[in-house]
Amino acid sequence: MYLSLKTQKKLMPLLFLIPGLLFFAIFQIYPLLKGFQMSFLDWQIMPGKVSEFVGLDNYARAFNDVVFGRAFKNTLIYTLVTVPGQMIIAMIVAILINSLPKGKTLFRALYYIPVITSWVIVSLLIRYFFQSPNGIVNYFLVEVFHLVEKPLPWLRDPALAFVPILILGIWKGIGWSMVIYLAALAGVPKELEEASAMDGANGWQNFWHITMPLISPTIVFTMVMLLIGGFNVFISVYLITGGGPRQMTEVMLSYAYHQAFDFLDFGYGAALSYLMAALIITLSFLQIKLLRKPQEIY
């Protein structure tokens, strides 16, 4: 078969795209659609059994589920604490590293190590550190710094059990935002800073009026990405507390997973995931709409 040069030129890019798209379709799009279908069924895991159509029952059930409400609240808390936590600390670290006369690469690498470390390993380590009564954190609190009288029951007390998860979430994410902020800071023209310094701006004014506006698109970008990441918190909760004690630290994903894989309630689990997806899409959309301003740099 002969194809005209024109057709060949049109076909070529598609051919190159196919492997990636195929992969994307099979492992992303298909499960996505399948999950959507499942969320309207009383899904039966055994092949051959009939899954009954239940309409919006699975979604309705979520709104009357106390534990899901708690999971939603916990996810929100996680996001509201870890996203600003990561961004502020990452910004401070980025500015400090940026002002270093030398050794930038070393510190950048050091702060980036947590990002590339496996979630599983650090989660298990954190769980180990926060053991009670004989964990290393309790040892420092009681024996070294004398901050508390008795060892704290970290993973047993619903009020305390979420703290290690938050700490891990912030610590592990700093490096990622930092690297992006460093790149953005490197793009801030030196002349502007010099000019404003000449005009008598102090360090803080310089940062607030010159640097911040210039890197604000980057900040919005990291915020959107971190927010999505925050809502997707799962491995650390699953491994550190398992949602316990008494499902008090359950987050949306861990609860959806629990319903699907422990109780075989895949329809309900899928509905919970879709509720979360709807939330994330809405939030991300609003963020980009509200926060991204047209940039006029020069």
């Binding site: 598609l14 195929l22 895991i45 092949p47 053991q131 970290w154 316990g244 004690p245 894989f261 422990d262």
Partner: protein, 443 residues
């Protein structure tokens, strides 16, 4: 516009293709048509000559044998021996850690890629049978009625669902009290406690050794941990017919059991790890921080590997108003409805359940389930099985129910709330009962 429509066509084609591909999952025999599988007469001499010519059939066997000792023995001794005797069957051993086992199995089942055989916790059999995942062995094994007579009745009964056997027992166990001889000597305890009152006296003495010394530790408030206490106090989770938990799980005896655990955590006798967060109980036991643990027959070989010089004794669960009642554990071997190699799987199953193999498995701490094996000299003269067999005479099994996972979660949550002092014992158990009762009827 042109470009866009191309992309759109390409994308939709790919999506359609991916759906087609995904629809091509291996076709498993559907559950609805549970035809009696008539196994071919594999012992028939005329057909066996033909079978030998053919390539061997490979069956897969999932298990959660521990990787250090048991799985090694299975893979390096038992399977080669079986394959030598049965050249027409190859066995692929798949070790799936216990805590992931149930989930991985369910995923495999839903994808139609279940193994042929699996060694599963006795407590999972009703649920798997309820899902229609398991082959009814009364149909697979023609002489099931006579074949099954050789098993101990207790372990055999864990395979019953709707009056049919969906598995056979593979090994059994229970928990007995192991005690730290050094700590007992240091605290001046002369003999192991036999009753709850003696246990309390012993704990009082252990506590004098130091604030960071604990009399007893366990990993949580799940049934495996708390049920020995509930039963020994005369309580239970449901009534005998498994129709209600009212008046049983919130009855006076169960209340007394939880009150006992709560008091002992509050006064520091029991390690607070039971409330959640876990505890390295073997490490604590080995390093003289924990004096007593409830452990199964895997404890001596495995703990001995970690702490070879540690001296410990074993005794029965301390007796309360309900006597000395521990929890029956163990595993059943089940065959999956999806398996298309039921004959070969039956051969391997029967091999594992033969008296010879059962006695061999004793060397890695597996307690046999055959009447003949239990009465054999190997067991009678075994260095530590005696105490477990004695405990098994009174031990009880956890509620065999397809919704057991949910029931157990309610129990675990209630236990944690009670022992943490967030609700009173009675209120916590009343609340649990109101959640468990609606789960019990099987439609």
């Amino acid at each position: 516009m042109k470009k866009r429509s191309y992309l759109f066509i390409a994308l939709s084609a790919i999506i359609a293709l991916s759906m087609l591909l995904a629809a091509c999952t291996p076709t498993a025999p559907s559950v609805s048509e549970q035809e009696p599988q008539q196994p071919a007469q594999s012992n028939d001499s005329s057909s066996s000559s033909v079978e030998k010519e053919a390539a061997p059939v490979t069956i897969s066997f999932w298990h959660a044998y521990n990787a250090d000792v048991e799985a090694v023995y299975l893979e390096e001794t038992l399977i080669p021996e079986f394959e030598a005797a049965n050249p027409d069957v190859k066995v692929e051993s798949v070790l799936v850690p216990y805590d992931q086992f149930r989930r991985k199995l369910l995923i495999a089942l839903s994808g139609g890629t279940a193994p042929d055989l699996a060694r599963v916790d006795i407590i999972w059999v009703p649920e798997l049978a309820d899902q229609g995942a398991l082959a009814n062995l009364e149909e697979v094994i023609p002489d099931f009625a006579t074949y099954s007579e050789q098993f101990l009745p207790g372990p055999l009964s864990t395979n019953l669902y709707n009056g049919k056997h969906f598995g056979l027992p593979l090994d059994t166990n229970t928990r007995v009290m192991v005690y730290n001889k050094d700590m007992f000597a240091a605290a001046g305890i002369e003999k192991a406690p036999e009753t709850m009152a003696e246990l309390l006296t012993a704990c009082e003495k252990i506590k004098t050794l130091g604030d960071d010394k604990f009399c007893f530790a366990d990993g949580g408030t799940y049934a495996w941990a708390v049920n020995p206490w509930i039963w020994s106090f005369g309580g239970d989770v449901t009534d005998e017919s498994i129709t209600t938990s009212t008046g049983v799980f919130n009855g006076a005896n169960t209340v007394a059991a939880y009150q006992f655990l709560k008091d002992n955590i509050e006064n520091g006798y029991m390690h607070p790890g039971m409330l959640g967060g876990g505890v390295d109980s073997w490490g604590g036991f080995g390093q003289d921080q924990i004096a007593m643990l409830l452990e199964g027959p895997w404890f001596p070989p495995l703990f001995g590997g970690q702490f070879p010089d540690k001296e410990y004794g074993m005794t029965l669960m301390p007796a309360g108003d309900g006597g000395s009642v521990s929890v029956v554990g163990g595993e059943d071997i089940v065959m999956f409805q999806q398996s298309d190699k039921k004959d070969a799987a039956t051969k391997f199953m029967k091999y594992l359940l033969s008296e010879e193999t059962q006695l061999k498995l004793v060397s890695v701490g597996q307690m046999p389930v055959l009447k003949s094996a239990v009465e054999s000299d190997t067991i009678k003269n075994h260095e530590f099985f005696g105490i477990f067999l004695e405990q098994l005479t009174t031990a009880k099994a956890r509620t065999p129910h397809p919704r057991w996972s949910k029931i157990e979660e309610i129990m675990t949550n209630a236990g944690s709330a009670i022992l943490n002092g967030e609700v009173s014992v009675k209120v916590g158990l009343d609340d649990a009962v109101s959640q468990i009762d609606p789960l019990l009827p099987i439609e």
